[in-house]
Symmetry: C2
DNA sequence: TTGGTATATCGGGAAATTCCGATATACATT
DNA sequence: AATGTATATCGGAATTTCCCGATATACCAA
């Protein structure tokens, strides 16, 4: 993954908010039946609801964040759950500390 | 300074390269008379030469990086020198570790 | 199989970014 | 004052990003 693409993924207010929300899902989203935040994450619909943007836009934003390795996804039934990707974010932290 | 603006500043290959060059100026630029890298930084002309882009583009890129607090400038005579801004980069590192 | 719900993908108008050449400004030299 | 050099600013064409509605795909339930 190109460094520039990671920073592009972060260059948008809504996408930064999503990452913030996914850092503490229990504070930012209502309880979910049959899917705990820690293991699978938060479903697209909840993220979209919270963002106020359209379904298609949020779906695209989530895939941009995923391509940048900042989040990861799990499909369960008809739902896709996204959660923070610790490894990717740690890698970004290392980039900041070594390249800049 | 808005977080989004910081990441936008970093969303460009040339601007990332400039930050990398300014991290170790002595490895990336020829000796400068009357201005040491540590205190004042590297003059615009040298950065432009190394980048291969036009003078106007590099001047603009440097001011984008400066607005994001990632570099700072000093004018001496007809030259402007830019150097890495340690504090701004440390602040960015904290953003990564707390907001994402 | 039919209909319903969740998400992904497509096509596109509007706005932002990239990078340029031309020009303006600032300072030094003669 | 006039000229030369370093940098900043302006105007703009080409490309990319933002965000939407429409549509496609995937899965579930009856």
């Amino acid at each position: 993954m190109d460094q520039v693409e990671i920073f592009k993924a972060l260059s948008n207010k809504t996408r930064l908010q999503i990452l913030g929300w996914l850092k503490e899902p229990e504070l930012n989203f209502p309880e979910q039946p049959n899917a705990d935040f820690e293991n699978v994450g938060v479903c697209v619909g909840q993220i979209q609801l919270k963002s106020g943007l359209s379904q298609s836009t949020i779906s695209e934003y989530l895939s941009i964040l995923q391509r940048a390795d900042l989040i990861s996804s799990t499909r369960i039934g008809q739902w896709t759950y996204y959660k923070r990707n610790k490894e990717g974010i740690e890698k970004l932290s290392k980039i900041i500390n070594t390249a800049l």
